[in-house]
Subunit: 413 residues, 2 copies
């Protein structure tokens, strides 16, 4: 089955808005094994829309259209869809009732121009939008089924998962329900993760789970996309696979699904009644900024000190010894149970792709201080970002009792 | 003239990579008044590429193709372009020589598969790539001129500006040279900026300058895109317009062109031999992280302290008085010439779109302390981001001797 994505709207066409809706829809299609065959972008323009609908209707079996369902005159999707189908726009009484009810519930009167959002092609199948006034709909143009979705990302995402993808799976003859399991790792690159997992039978063709990776330096996201007849079968398929992935990726897994590494750290601090103080240099606040602003951090985050001059932190050099000295002193002066110190010294000279930095991390708690030395290379920003993540990961590992100095792929020694 | 953008490659088609090349090309076309009519995305697939070339060749006058020029077998642009033109691929001796010379200069031998990058359709016009091994080229397919550009962003951007856009301008009958002037403001929204500038004659049709906006909350970018016969005419057209824009946007302009607000602040601190200390609460290091890591900041940035507990900063409440007290104390204890304090108290409860925060900023220097109180609304992250920028802007204004408490559009009182 050939699936296309058709994005509409002047903001997208002219590049004013980066088209992240396209990427999201495409990724979900790939995760479910449906794939994506073609992408089109056109503006809020009748002639282009009509031509795009007809051309996609000749090439594809299914087309996901995004945008153009708003209440204003420049939103043309329903109108041009009706034209492409050769039918009139008619008022959808059920959707009109839903919108009026939604406004009434909030004690407001529906503006008259919202009525336009309930005008659908006469032959359209209504698609629910539980969180907005733009309903979706489906019509057939040429040989393809077209699914119209709203441009507001959260409305599109929900409609895609709950309404559109199940219909596409049914069309494709792929039965059942789907799930997406995600692991976030720090310290291994995509090719190494692929080597670590790629030989698992469950990830082979017809193994039932599709394995995918998405690199967001310095983290890597490993995705397991599943399809099964029902939820019970999904769980039966996933349980052994996720246990095996956890075993193989091991300590490199910093979080799962919607968790973050900083959320895991804060959760652990709060659960154990611990408190944290931080001192950092060239990372300049980026480390503190990952933890201090979190909801709940007011109960665990004691203080961070940032300085570019080592003496300001009480250090004389970027060395493991000095990181330990500063960490112990910071723990004492702050009264926190844990003190994390990150000393970073960048190579001399102007920024360049092979600029590196020497990192010394010190972590003190009631048991004393441990240290970690590393070298990262890749330019000023790259080193700073990697250093911040390395420091967070050292703290996570320490709090969880995991090995503190496992070598990471980005590291030079 | 109708211009299309055709992006190729599986990483883009499947959404694995967000298509920022598309947005960049589209924006540049719009800035030059060429506009963009249609966007297409296809994968590394012969059949799709050939169909996409033919369909675009029927719709458009010019097509910018991005990607598929690499040395590996999945890069198909040259091959399918030759097929669409009905010609053979032939070796470009000039490009082969350029690549060999480039490798030789770095003391390396060119890998054999790079030869593929010098194979162009027999009728192609070579387009220079001064910073990579993927040359561009142009051919005619159907009624459109196709310009092939590399997928590596920095190579594409340079080739677009130096080679492709001048050719498109020449094709369109638009003569001359172009320039883009940018202003970065904080504190005014897009509609207000449009009101402030929209009536200038030079921005009207045929006024010679195209006015555009790009919102990157909390900043707004105002863009003046110019075209004139030669550089002297460009300067003559731009000089009065940019002076008038500076007059109208006034103190809200925080930086121009490639400058940043933090760069302006650091420059001013260094030029006046001043030093800076910071204390912050819920912004949690985000403020320090804008200045402390900058090259050169080691000479001006003294220290930042971050805490979630006001007492840890020596404050008893989020109030202007307390912001002044903490700022003065921080100045004394740090030895910095300037101390910036940002106290932020978020509304109670869980994060929500109408969550707000009360902000008290204190700034102490040799002359005493000044304060600024504000309220921002829009959810936890929105308030934090806006607060960070407001604090930077207060510091910028103070260092430049500008009014410290001009009301901003995002502010509630």
């Amino acid at each position: 089955m050939r699936v296309e994505i058709l994005c509409t709207g002047d903001e997208i066409l002219t590049g004013k808005t980066i088209n992240t809706n396209y990427s999201h829809i495409a990724r979900r299609l790939v995760e479910l094994g449906l794939g994506v065959h073609w992408g089109t972008t056109v503006g809020d323009d009748r002639e282009s829309l009509l031509k795009a609908f007809h051309q996609a209707g000749e090439r594809a079996d299914a087309v996901i259209v995004n945008g153009g369902l708003g209440p204003t005159v420049d939103d043309l999707s329903q109108e041009v869809a009706a034209q492409a189908c050769g039918v009139e726009l008619v008022l959808s009484d059920p959707w009109m009732a839903r919108m009026e009810e939604s406004y009434a519930r909030r004690g407001r009167v529906m503006p008259p121009n919202n009525r336009k959002q309930a005008m659908l092609p006469a032959n359209a199948e209504l698609i629910d939008n539980p969180i907005g006034t733009a309903c979706g709909f489906a019509v057939t143009i040429g040989k393809a089924r077209f699914f119209f979705t709203p441009g507001v990302p959260r409305e599109m995402r929900r409609m895609l998962d709950e309404e559109v993808l199940p219909r596409l799976l049914a069309m494709s003859g792929i039965a059942g329900v789907t799930r997406l399991k995600r692991f976030h790792t720090f310290g291994i690159g995509e090719s190494r993760a692929d080597q670590m997992l790629g030989d698992m039978d469950v990830f082979k063709a017809d193994g039932g789970i599709k394995l995918g990776f998405q690199a967001h330096y310095p983290q890597l996201e490993t995705k397991l996309a599943l399809r099964a007849d029902d939820e019970a079968a999904l769980t039966a398929l996933l349980a052994p696979a996720e246990a095996e992935v956890r075993r193989r990726l091991g300590n490199f897994i910093v979080a799962e699904d919607d968790q973050t590494i900083e959320g895991v750290i804060l959760g652990r601090l709060l659960a154990s009644g611990s408190t944290l103080a931080i001192a950092e240099t060239v990372t300049g606040g980026h480390l503190a900024a990952r933890i201090a602003p979190l909801p709940g951090a007011e109960r665990a985050f004691r203080r961070a000190t940032i300085a570019r001059d080592l003496a300001e932190l009480g250090a004389t050099a970027v060395s493991p010894d000095q990181a330990a000295v500063v960490a112990k002193a910071l723990r004492a002066s702050s009264g926190a149970s844990h003190a994390l110190v990150v000393l970073l010294e960048l190579d001399q000279g102007a920024d360049r792709p092979d600029m590196g930095g020497t990192i010394c991390i010190g972590l003190a708690d009631a048991g004393g201080a441990v240290t970690r030395q590393a070298r990262l290379v890749g330019g000023r920003d790259w080193v700073r970002v990697g250093t911040t993540e390395l420091a967070l990961d050292c703290l996570r590992r320490h709090l969880l009792g995991l090995p503190f100095d496992e070598r990471i792929d980005f590291e030079r020694r």
